[in-house]
Structures are given as structure tokens and as C-alpha cells.
Amino acid sequence: MMDVGRHPKIELLTNAELEDVSGYVGNFKARIRKKARYVNEAECTACGDCVSVCPVVLPDEYQMGLSSRRAIYIPFPQAVPSAYVVSAEDCLGLNPIACGKCLEACEKQCINFDMKDEHIEVDVGAIIVATGMDVYDPSALDEYGYTRFTNVVTSLEFERLISTGGPLEGHLARPSDLKRPRRIGFVQCVGSRTQDPQRGNPYCSNICCMNTIKDAQYLMDNYPDSDIMVFYIDLRAYGKGFEELLMRTRSRGVRYVRGLPGEVREDASSGNLLVTVENTTDKRIENYEFDMLVLAVGATSAIATESIRQMVSLSKSPDGFLKEAHAKLRPVDTPTKGVFIAGAVESPKDVRQSVTQASAASSRASILLNKGEFSVEAITAVVFDEQCSKCGLCARACPFGAITWQKKQAPKVISAACSGCGCCAAECKYGAIGMRHFSDQAIYAQIDAILEKDPHEKVVTFACNWCSYAGADTAGVSRMEYPPSARIIRTMCSARVNPEFVWYAFQKGAPVVLVSGCHYADCHYIDANRNTVRRVEGLWDGLEKSGIRPQRLLLEWCSAAEGLRWQAIMKETDNKRKTVTREELEQTRTLLAKARVPRPRTDKDINENQEADFVCLRCGHSWAGIFNVETERTCAECKSNSIRWLRKNA
């Protein structure tokens, strides 16, 4: 920590918030608000004279509220920067000055109540997001009695209780009577690994098993007469030296019981905790008494991350943690070029994993910074000014904010920020945006080539580069046989698929068109594929209006790993193809000869939670439910994503 504070190349901005990030890879501009500290950071010697005179007493956040601090305080003795700070909300001296005792106490006159927030702008080439995680609040899990019983504490509170820098200076005692607890129980998976959203999160928080094992070892080292029991579902000790530590605690007499307590009661006279648990190894109900109970709380995504995520256009996983560009091959990159992630912001991590990932992220950023220049793959968007109607829809469709547009002006593409997904080109109904290397003409030529001969034998298939095309590759590598009817047109993203392409294919005699892309959580262009859905929905409506079966247009998500799913999609799509007769194809040509290309459903239709009827266009299964734009729709019967939804009572 001190190394960071005194490094000549690091400008440390604490008590500071990021307000805005603009620009693109290599050329970001960040606006930071450094909140007034009211203490001169450079001059303060951390003598503490100000603290003793401050009349405001508050719970100390660093000590998890287990001791108190004043309104002027230093977060902890080793804090960097080593300077006091006034918490403006609590101080009596600010607006109007009613107190000011610390001003008098400070001999060096470091305190200044006229200090204002500073706005700082910095130009940077790369950004590393390391906003960490939050700790789960176990108040909702009432059976453990965290809010009711004094001697039930969280693992982080326990950490403060055993710390020499803690409120008890390392002499462990329990909160109710400050007596040393001899019998200590640990409850694992608090707020983790549950399917009930009221009781926490579905994922494993990764760190809690080892943290408890560490605490157990610490107790046996320092208080050998302790009686320690750990209640768990599974013990996950898979890292280097982890299993060995677990074994050491076992050999020292720590008992591990498989099963989580069903009930915790307090003995009112002693403050002891009476725990009832089903021991699932011995298959019996057991009762234990403890002096103190520690809840091994899990990790959650940090609330502070969300605003930063939006500022730099990053995507998140369903669990709320930030999503990497590729789970295996680009684990510290993000979909936004020049932005990297490190530590627990990506998933719950311990210190060692965080440090490893941070070094990886800084190395990735270094590659960019060292080179001094960045070459943009020539697949970016280009605006044809003469065709442009200056409507600005493209700028709204861009997931990366790479298109700037002002009223009555043709938009401009910042190619460094453009990732080449083609979402803007598909949104433009004037053909005023082209994609370099994935031009409209090339795609039309591909459709023509597919349908020139025996169109009834073929399925025009659009596949995105990252997931569905790669899923088809996986099916190939695994030799998963399927009918030979599919003809794939590769695009970078399914959002490149302009409704006009699909319409054109039907006009040219395609029996079935398949649009395929990444699952919602996997979209390589943040959330571009939500636009694919919107456009396909518009096409379904339009097909129906023109008297054509919407079932002939299918939408499927397939990840790069889902070879089996690709095979199933191919088989089902081919079955659908066989249902289309030559007469039907002829009829389609006539019906579509004059029909106009249907436009996507508008934002107004989709930006709300609403009751809706759903129908699977692959198998016909239908159901009622709530429509939400961010929820991937899948048929419970056949696993298809060709789910059409209609507003209830519409």
C-alpha cells in the first residue's frame, strides 16, 4: 500500500469518484471529482490531536461498527494517504460553523473547512476496472439470528475481532460480555449457492471455505483449547496449499459437519447459541451449544461498479459481476477495446487470484501503451452521407457509443471505438451505413448464390462469428452429423442481419431462414443481439401480415461450445424446411412481390415488464408470462429461442 502512495508514476486520487468517461481506445478522457477532504493531505502528519477534541462519535466502518470513530478520522493506522479526513455529513463544523474544535487543535493548521471538491480531467490510453466486490448482508437469513443475537457475527466482523489492529487489539472476545469464546461454530455458504433469491446468490463465493479454514487454524494456533465446528455443504479447498491447510486443521481437532443449521436459538441467560443441524453424513439431527457463531458470508457484485460499467460500456454476467471478453482466452479483456478488468469485479476472488489477475490486466494494458499505436481491424462502419436522412437511429443502436450524431447532421463513426458488429448498418433503412469487409452487396450476392438453384433444398442461415458460427465449427470437430441443407452466411454479430436480407431471401424462394447468434449473456458486442430480437420480431409480424407463416423464420442462440445444440438446431430447421411445399414457395413470391420490408418493433413496445402470451414458433408450445427485454426467451419444451410474444389483451 505504501509503495502505491509514494510511487512517482502513480497519482493517487482518494475520496474520489469517476464522473464521466468519454473517448475510445488509446484516447480516453476521464472526469474525476475529488471530494473535499478538509485536511491538507500533504501537510497532515497524522498526529491525532484533532481526534481527541472532536465531539462527534460514530460507528467505525473499518471495524465493522465494532468500535467508534470521530467525524475527523483516519480510516486505519496504515491508511494511504496517511492523512486525516473530515466526513462532511457528520461534522458539526461545516455549514454553519458551530464547532471548529479541531481547527484550534491542529498546530500545523492543516484543517480547512473552505476546501472545495476538485474536478480533475485526465487523458489515458487504457483503463483498468478493479472496483471489487461487496460482502453479503445476512440480515435476511433470519434462522441464523444475525440481527437478533449479539454473539452471531459475520466472518468479516470476526476478522476484526481477532485482528491486533481491531477493537480488541487481538485479544479475541465475544461481543455480548467480552469473554473469550471457547466453543465457536462456523456456518458456511451464507448467501451463496442457493436457488432462492431471497436467501442469496446461486454461485459459489469461492473464498469463504478457505477463509473459515484459515480462521480455524488461527484459533488452534493461538487458543489451542478452542472447540471449533464448521457446518458446510461441500468443502472447496482446491488451490495450492489449500487441502494441506484443511488437513492441518482436522489434525488439530477442528470438526467439520456436513449440513447447515436449520435453527439457531439463544440462551438468554448466558448469551450462548443453541444450534440444531441435520448431519447429512450420519443422517441424524444434532444439537450443539456455542459461545459464538460465525457466518461465512459470501460475496456479491459491488454496487459501485454499476455506474462505472455504464460509463465505459461493459457487459455483466447474470450474477452481476463484470463479463470478460472471452471466458478462457481473454479473461481480463472486455468487449470495449482498451478497457481491462482485474480482481473481484469479475467474480469473487481471494488475494492471490486478484493479484494474479491484476498483473495480467496491467500486462495487457502495457502491450497497448508500449506500442504507442493501435491498429483497428478494417471491419468498421462507414456512413454514406448522400444517402443519410440524418435521423440518428444508428447512433442509438450502437452499443459502444461509437457513432456521434447531432440533429440535422450526418452521423460520424469513431472507427477506433467501433467494433464492427454492424448493428447500426442493420438499423438504417436508407442503406446509408456500410460495413467494411461485410458489405450489403456481398451479403446479397451470397443469398443469390444460395438460392439460384434448388432453393427449396436449402436453409439460408445467418451465423455470428463468435458463437453460432463457432458452435457449428464445434459440431464439425465433434463429427456431429446433420442434414446438408444449411448454407451459412457469416456476420460478425447477428445484429448485422438487416431485415431486408431476410425479406430478400424469402422473395428469392428461401423455404426457411435461420438467424443465429450468441446467448444473451455471451453477446460479444455488449447487448447488440437484443436488436436482432427486435428485428426478428418485426419480421414475424410482417410475414404474418403478408400471409406467410412466421414459423419459416427461426431465431436460435448457440454458444461456441454447444456443438450438440447446433446439431439439434440443424435437424429441427431442416424438418421445418420439409414442411414448406413448392406451391407455398410460389405463393410467397407472389405475396412478397409488393410487400414492404417490415421494420423492427419500436422501443416503446419492448422497454417494459408486461404480461404477455408467448408461443414457440418451432414446436408450437405456448404459455403466459412476463415479458422483459433483458430475459433470454427459451421454449421449455424444445429449447428453441424462436419465441414470439404478444402483449396480453392485444
Binding site: M1, H7, N27, A126, L369, V376, A378, Y469, G476, M480
Partner: protein
Amino acid sequence: MLTKEDLRIGVFVCDCGSNIAGFVNTETVREFAETLPDVVVSVKNKYTCSDPGQQEIQRTIFEKKLNRIVVASCSPASYEPIFRQCIQGAGLNPYLLEMANLREHCSWVTPDREAATWKAKDILKVAVSRARWLYPQDEEQITVTDAALVIGGGVAGMQAALDLADAGHQVYLVEQKPSIGGIMAQLDKVYPDIECSI
């Protein structure tokens, strides 16, 4: 911009040993390619990605003055970078390459030889039709400001900032709280060797 009359497409059909040739009649596919518009030459190789295979592409580009290349072999995910480099070596813009995926998307998933050959011909035809609409592209170079912003001063943010700063880059480390340290600073001991955290 090139007009259609100027197009000179070369097609290179790969056997991939028996991976493609075992299921697809590659000679039929090669012959079929010659019938496609603007295709000047169609060559079959045992392994197009091998050194001799790549040399043949480069030689044919010179001899036949080719300006669009279609390689009918495997997935672009595996070999597109290599073939782009290959045609660049012969003086062509790398974006003038198109790949027809006869292996992952055809021979490996279609056991029936006749059906596989039918599909392979079609895939190639689609690739050639796309190649006719490819144009040279230049990659834009963007200058990079030699500084980094690290958001968050926990253990990950501190490590990232230190590494970058040690590598000589200017770093701005932004932390919401009055001190850096994050959750790590609240821990007393850290596993697996029960060391102090700060």
C-alpha cells in the same frame, strides 16, 4: 475501385488429407469452381495450409495475376490469419481473401459422399460470390496516450497500478474511500500461509 471485368479469382481446394477428401469429391469441387464467374484458375492441394500449399498460392497469384483468393478448406477461425499473411506475401491486400469452410461445416458433418460433395460445391459457390464483392481495406492506426486509469484501490487495483507504474507508464489510481486498501485491508490474516494482510 475495381470493376467486375477486372476480377481474377483464384480458387484453392484443400483435401486436408482425408479430412475433406475422405467425404467430399474434391476433384469435382475443383472442376466446378472453374465454371464459376470470374474464376481464372482452380487448384487442388493435399494440404493448402502447408508450406508447399501456401507457396503454390503465392506462385499462382503471380502467374495468373490473381486479385481475389478463395481458399476452400477449413474454418476461418483456424486459418484465416495464416492465409491472409500468405496472400499479403504475394502483394495482395489481406482483405481480398475469402474462405469456404468445407471441413467443419461440411465433410465432418455429412457422411454421405454425394450429399457432402453437393453441399461443398454450393459452399464454394457462395464464397466465390462473396469474393467478387471484396475490396482492399486499410487498417486505421490510432495513437495511444501513454497513461492508464485504474478504478478501484483494492488489492487488484493497487497491484495493477504498481505493475503499470513500474513499467514506466503514468497511472491515475482513483479510490472512492479516503484510503486505498479495500477489503484486503480489513482482513487480519490471509490463507494459505496465515500471513498478515497489510
